[in-house]
Structures are given as structure tokens and as C-alpha cells.
Amino acid sequence: MRPTQEASAGTEDRSDALVRVRPAGRLTVSVRTRTGPMYEEHIASLVRQALRGYGVDGAHVEVGEEGAYDHVILARLEAALARSLGSEELFRSALPVVDRTPTSRSRLRRSRLYVPGGGARLLAFADSFGPDCLLLDLEDAVALPEKDSARFLVRRVLATMDFGRTELWVRINPLDAGGADDLALVVGSRPHGICLPKAEDPAQVLALADLLASLEEAYSVPWPLWIMPIIESPRGVLAAADIARAAERVACLAFGAEDYTREVGARRSWETLLWARSQLVASAKASGVQASDTVYPNVEDEEGLRDEAQRARDLGFDGKGVIHPLQIGIVHGAFAPSAEEVAWARGAVEAAVAAAKEGRGVIAYQGRMIDRPVLERAKRILAQVGEGSDAD
């Protein structure tokens, strides 16, 4: 196969690569790397091998890299090829994916860190930040002309980088605005879940669930992907309970205050958003899913973040969005259980252990019955303070 159009993808920014594909009768690769001889041959053979893998036997490929990792170079190469071919079809298959385990629906989700999916620079160290949930963003953080290139990059990042215990999410574009193309590339790289922006109607969730089911089968993904609808409009807030119940895959409702505030014409403050937040928490909890609060946009203001996170927690939220890695610790601190909660959880778990030993089915602690969801909550609290096993 030979590309017939000249095309390029990527940038000359730090940590990125600019890859240009030109039509040619045979395969030639030229590499310009900051590292000189240290990685010149390595990159050339990486690119050749990938081209052969895709059945490209004629093209001139130029790679200029500014500290790009191997998977970034490959993502840029694939995006350039797709642009040249005018189709992403060739790349709609599963890549070999780093070892990754599934997550439970009720796992700990105190922080969800947004990282733009288009820029190599911030993604370069995304595996080291350690939030509970990492959201690779293909929607608001990516400019329209780079939407395609970003989904190639996220596909490779997910397949390659080891994120440890972090749960991995991709915020796709709305399904009718590129979201389906996003899914066709990223589901094979086995994220744990998909964030659905601007959720206003249970039908959107159902459509996403159907698409996921077929892609999971096609790409042999060994777990069903979770859905996190992002409620960021007055319509969404009103329909929150229906959205939460639309599919078994929904694990968490997330609140997006920026768009909501704009649409209702409010000025952002704790009071003006209190009703929407309360409504969202009640809808989520009534439907058996978690609720995650909106981001706190001022990165410099640690006190403001701590205060808002604590209030969100008191309201019943399970976590909060963050836009900078240094916000993670503050949010985790705010969502840490209190000493009384830990003491209660310890007692409840001990009571359950004792009941099991004695063969009693009914567990009581401090005069109240401990059923399974309550016991799970107790275990989760202990996991947060490093006791017992993780919630997963």
C-alpha cells in the first residue's frame, strides 16, 4: 500500500514529534533527533517496522523529534498516514496493551485528573501523577483540527504506559461530533471507562452503551467499560436520575459547573450551584452510582480548593475533578474519612468477621444491621487509610 497524498501530524513542541508522509515508490525514512546518534537508528527502525506492519511499501517518511517517546512517534506516524489515506479504517484494531486489570463499579474515585489528549508534553509524565482516575480528554482540551491526531495519541498512550492503580478514562467528543470515531480507536487500548460529555438524555447513554458493547466484542476487551456521564447543563441536571439509571455501565455521575453556570446565567459560587450539586448527588445515590464534583479552576488557590472539596464531600460527593497534579493530594485529603468513620468501619468489619466465624448470617454493629453495601462501604473506608484490601 502506498499513500498518495502528502500529509503530516504532530508538532515541533517539546516531547512531541512532527511526522511527514510523502508519496514515494519505495520506503525511505529520515530521522532528525535531538539526541543525535543515541536514538537515530532506534527511531528509524521503529518507524520502518510500523510501516511494514501496516503494509506500507512505498512512502517517504520524515520524523523530527523533540524528545518524543516511541509511542508518541508511532501515534504521529499513524495520524499522518490516516490523513494521507483519508481514512482511519486501517488503525481500527487492537494494539498490544500493557498489563491492566479491571476496576470495580464502586471503587475509590476521589480525584479525576483531566489531561489534554492532544499534547505530548503533558502526557509525557501522565503515568506518574497517581490520581484515582485519569481522564484523557479528547473533547474540550483539543482543538478541532487536531481531534484525529489526539485520538491516535490517546490510543497509543493507553496501550503503552503503565498507570499502576489509576483508573483510566477517555472523555470522548459527543457521539454525533467525532465521539464514535474516538471510540473506534481508543476502546481497543482498554481504558476502564468512557466519559460522556454534555449528557442530557438517557438515550445518549444507551447509544454509547450499545457502541461499547460491539467494540468490546470486536476488540476482545476483557471487561465492560464503565460510563461516566458528565452533567453540565440545566437539562442534564434535571434528567440526572434517568441518566444514572440508563445503563448498568454507569459508574459515576460527574458535575461540570463551567457550562452549567453559563447556560443558566449564574455567577459561580457555592450557593448558586448548591441546588444543582444536591440534585446531582441525590440522583446518583438514588440510582446506586457515585457522584463526582466539578473541577476547581484556580490552580494557585489551594485553600479554596480544600474548602470546596470538603464541602463537596460533606454534601455526599465521592470525589472531585482536578486540573493539576498538585491538586490531587489536597482532594484526597479532603475526601479522607474522619477518625469517627474509620473507628466505625473497623468495628463494622470486625463484627462481620465475628459473625462469619460464628456462622451467623445477620451482622449487627452498634445496634444497627450491617448489610452488604454497608459492609463494602466500611471496607472502602479502611482501604482509604491503608487498612485491609483495596476497594478493587
Partner: protein
């Protein structure tokens, strides 16, 4: 070829100079007496002011083959080294040994004088283009010798390096030779690097653009050691003191490393009243210092002292009462210079005070902890600050060895990857500072604890900090980029790295090719 205690091959001699192999951080026992300049006298009424640099050079008796010295307190804003070397060239003096404390990118024009034979030997820190130039080899009669701040002081004080003429840039001086760097329109901060030069050189020339009536105070350089005073248009540009690295980083990764570093010393119980600490001027170290300041404010902890180089961030800690005294050898920005001038708790000090191996007291030995950087670290915790992984000699040692060997806990902060080049190696390209004096290596992936410090590992684990091995972190980084080729080194030695006691911890060899 003989190897030193770290297994590095060190030739017995290079260019006629005997090299003593490094044996351990604190093994050498010094012998002999301190060196000093020749005895001289002066009569009342004598005039020390020379009309020009050329006249001063002529009167100094500088001849072919001699050694000239300088300080680097103006850093990249230095305006003295080039004019002096140029004047020497015009006077037909050549074959000189340049013994500046450090050279910076502004000194790139020296390349011409090296090619023309005006300069044939260099000793001192080589930052940037001159380092890159000598890395090519074959240009100098002898490979440059690099020393730490304390190492340079020691070398002069014990007579290892004899200085024929010391040129000392001063932002304020009087006609009798008293001089400092903290007053005047082009103040640069302390010029205490040159104190030992003034004591030991055969001839001392103070160069200023701000001649004031007697006495110039404080007299960092004293009249009794000064032969001549020269007035020039501008002795240095303070704007050149601030270079790119002297700002707190905004990079999330670097901030994360800084945050982990501070949490590590907190977990070790070192952040407490009365402590002493040092933070380098790199982006991560500065960020760590800022985070430390915030924690100290929150918990009410006060440090007894901090060691500079000083930036505005440390000055702020002094002014807020978080730090009792700054002991400082070098100003890194305008705020630090002003603080030197106005705050008596901002105390200038010489490298002899904080870092000399042959001394009965080093301020660095009283540090509870220090944050330092590096270009590479290896599985034995050895740190490289001189060369890059491609073998190019691009940085000086600064106070790295002195601080690392002194501090109770030395924390090296660096990312696992710079661009796509891994920073954790099986073996560093060049050893600057031995793993023996390194306690923690903090990267964005976690904290590696030197096996010598099982106590620290326990503290860190108890605090829930991510304790990892260097090997694990190295492997994770290399999974993303591959291991890369290594340079192949020839026999030619293009740089000698001294340990602070004068032994040779490593040599830099010329790159001949790649694997």
C-alpha cells in the same frame, strides 16, 4: 590502567601532572602547611591606581606561561575575563593558564584565543560552549581540571594551583584596593570566591567601574593584599546573573518531584526548629524550597540557617522569619544582592568557610538536608553533574560535592527522562559525586533510598511515600524510549574531575564514536 575506589580508570598522570585516585569521600588526610603570597610592603603615599587594564597587566609582570584568575560572581554577565585575555593578546602574552572559578556562555569568544595559543590551559567550571569546545579534544596543552567551590579554595590554599595574577571584578572599590560586590550600580553580590586568590596570588589587580573615596566597605577584598586598582567602563552586567534555571518551575512533573522531596525530609523528621538546609538554584530545587517554606509557615517551624546561592525565594524566607540567617557565597538575582546590602542576617561567606576539605569547619557539614540536581544518576547512587549522556562536558561542579558530602540527608531530584533521554543509568557517564554521600534520589516515579540508609527507608514507608528502587524506575523509563546507544570513548582525556580533597574521582574522555 589503575582504577579509583569507584572503579573508574584514572591514568597515573596526564600531561605531566600526577593524578591521585579517589579513595573515598573522607579518606585523604592532608599534610603540609597553607600556601600564601609573597611578602611585600608599601610606603605611605604610594598610588595603586593604574590607568588601564593593559598598563596594569604590564606592571604586574605577567609573562608567557603564567596563570591568571577570576571569580564568576557576574556569571553570564561577566565583562572582565574577555577584556583581560584580549589585552594579554595585544601585549603579545600567550600560553596562559586561565583559572576562573567558572566560565559561562558569554565567554564563547575565548575559543578564538584558545585557537591562537593565547590560552593553552583552563582550570575551573566550564558551563556551555567552552565545555562543548574542549570536549572535542586536542585544543589545550592539558585537559581542564574541574573542581568544586570548596575544591578550588583548597587547591589555591594548599599551593596546588599557583596564581600569578588575580583579576578581581568589584562593583565598588577604593583607590587603596578595598573592594566588594554588593555596592555600586553594577552590584553582583558577594565576591568571596576571590578572597583566597587575593591571599595567595603573586599579584592582585582589583578592577572596578565604581571607584569610591576611601574606605570602600565592606572590604571583602582587603587593601593589604591588593597591588593595583583599575577603573573600567563596566565591570559586569548584573542582568547576566539571572539565567534560565533560576526560577520556580511550572511543570507539573518537576513540582511533583519537588513535593515528594519535601515530604521525604519531613518524613525523616528533619523539618524542625533550628534546622539548616540548602537548596540549589535549579528549577526543582527552587520549587522544593518554596513548598518547604509553605509547610514551615503552616507548622511554625523555623530554620536556624540556610546556605545559598541565594534567590529571591530564599530572601523571602529570611524576611518572613522562616530562616534565621542566610550564609551565602553567591547571589543569583537582584533581590539577593539587595538583601546582602541591607540585611545583616544575610551573611556573605567564602568557600573556605563552607566547603574547604582542608579545614576544621565547613558550614555544609551542619546541614540537616539539601536538595541537589544532576544530569544523571546510576544504580550505585553516583551522580553526574558535569557531562550529558552523549559525553559532552557542559557543566561545572559548583558546590555539589561539598554540599552532598556535608548534608545529613542529601536529596537528588531529577526526572527519569529529559526529553527522551533516560537519567537513571547503569553507570553514570561521569562521576561527579559518589553514591557514598547521596541518601535519596527523588524522581516523578518515586523515591530511591540508598541501601546505606535503611533508617530512612523505614521513615519514608511509614509516611506512605513511594519507596522504589533505581532499577525499577530505570526500567520503567526505558520501556518508553529504549536504552539508546552509548558513546564510545577514546583514550584522549578532555577533562579531569577532582573530588573536593584533590584526588581524581573521574576523567572525561573524548567521544570517538557510538556503539
Amino acid at each position: 590502567m589503575p582504577t579509583n575506589a569507584l572503579g573508574r580508570e584514572i591514568p597515573e598522570e596526564v600531561a605531566g601532572r600526577t593524578l591521585r585516585p579517589y579513595q573515598g569521600a573522607f579518606v585523604t588526610i592532608p599534610a603540609g602547611r597553607r600556601a600564601g603570597g609573597p611578602l611585600k610592603t608599601i610606603r605611605p603615599g604610594a598610588d595603586k591606581v593604574a590607568s588601564s587594564l593593559e598598563e596594569a597587566i604590564r606592571r604586574s609582570g605577567l609573562r608567557d606561561g603564567m596563570t591568571i584568575s577570576f571569580h564568576h560572581s557576574f556569571r553570564d554577565g561577566d565583562r572582565l575575563v574577555l577584556p583581560v585575555v584580549d589585552a594579554c593578546a595585544r601585549l603579545g602574552i600567550g600560553d596562559l593558564r586561565l583559572f576562573a572559578t567558572a566560565l559561562f556562555p558569554c565567554h564563547e569568544p575565548l575559543v578564538r584565543y584558545i585557537q591562537e595559543g593565547v590560552l593553552t590551559r583552563i582550570e575551573g567550571s566550564l558551563n556551555g560552549p567552552i565545555g562543548a569546545f574542549v570536549s572535542q579534544g586536542g585544543k589545550l596543552k592539558e585537559p581542564p581540571i574541574l573542581r568544586s567551590h570548596g575544591g578550588r579554595w583548597r587547591a589555591v590554599a594548599c599551593g596546588e594551583v599557583g596564581i600569578d595574577v588575580a583579576f578581581i571584578a568589584a562593583s565598588e572599590a577604593d583607590p587603596y584596593g578595598n573592594a566588594n560586590g554588593i555596592n555600586g550600580p553594577h552590584a553582583c553580590g558577594p565576591i568571596s570566591f576571590s578572597v583566597i586568590d587575593s591571599w595567595c596570588a603573586d599579584h592582585v589587580v582589583v578592577v572596578t567601574d565604581n571607584l569610591v573615596p576611601y574606605p570602600a566597605v565592606p572590604p571583602t577584598i582587603e587593601q593589604g593584599y591588593v597591588d593595583q586598582v583599575v577603573v573600567v567602563d563596566q565591570v559586569g552586567d548584573p542582568a547576566g546573573i539571572v539565567t534560565g534555571t533560576l526560577r520556580v518551575t511550572r511543570s507539573p512533573t518537576q513540582l511533583k518531584i519537588a513535593d515528594l522531596a519535601v515530604r521525604a525530609v519531613e518524613a525523616a523528621g528533619l523539618v524542625r526548629n533550628g534546622m539548616g538546609f540548602q537548596a540549589g538554584a535549579g528549577g526543582i530545587s527552587l520549587a522544593a524550597q518554596e513548598i518547604l517554606a509553605r509547610r514551615m509557615k503552616a507548622t511554625g517551624v523555623r530554620a536556624a540557617f540556610a546556605i545559598g546561592g541565594t534567590t529571591r525565594y530564599l530572601v523571602a524566607m529570611l524576611n518572613e522569619g522562616l530562616v534565621g540567617t542566610i550564609l551565602d557565597g553567591q547571589a543569583f538575582d537582584e533581590e539577593a544582592i539587595v538583601s546582602h546590602r541591607t540585611n545583616p542576617r544575610h551573611q556573605p561567606m567564602t568557600p573556605g568557610f563552607y566547603a574547604d576539605y582542608n579545614s576544621l569547619g565547613c558550614a555544609t557539614y551542619l546541614l540537616d538536608f539539601a536538595f541537589l540536581g544532576g544530569t544523571e544518576v546510576d544504580l550505585e547512587f553516583n551522580v553526574n553533574v558535569n557531562t550529558h549522556s552523549d559525553g559532552q562536558l557542559l557543566h561545572g561542579i559548583g558546590g555539589h560535592q561539598d554540599v552532598a558530602s556535608g548534608a545529613g540527608v542529601t536529596v537528588i531530584t531529577l526526572p527519569t527522562l529529559r526529553g527522551r533521554v533516560p537519567m537513571i543509568r547503569d553507570q553514570v557517564t561521569t562521576v561527579t559525586t559518589p553514591g557514598e554521600v547521596i541518601d535519596l534520589v527523588v524522581t516523578e516515579r518515586g523515591i530511591a533510598v540508598n541501601p546505606r540508609r535503611a533508617d530512612l527507608a523505614a521513615d519514608l514507608r511509614r509516611a506512605g511515600l513511594p519507596v522504589r528502587t533505581l532499577a525499577e524506575m530505570k526500567e520503567e523509563a526505558e520501556r518508553l524510549v529504549g536504552a539508546g546507544k552509548k558513546p564510545l570513548f577514546g583514550d584522549e582525556i578532555v577533562g579531569v574531575i577532582q573530588w573536593r580533597d584533590g584526588t581524581v574521582i573521574d576523567v572525561v574522555r573524548k567521544v570517538e564514536g557510538w556503539q
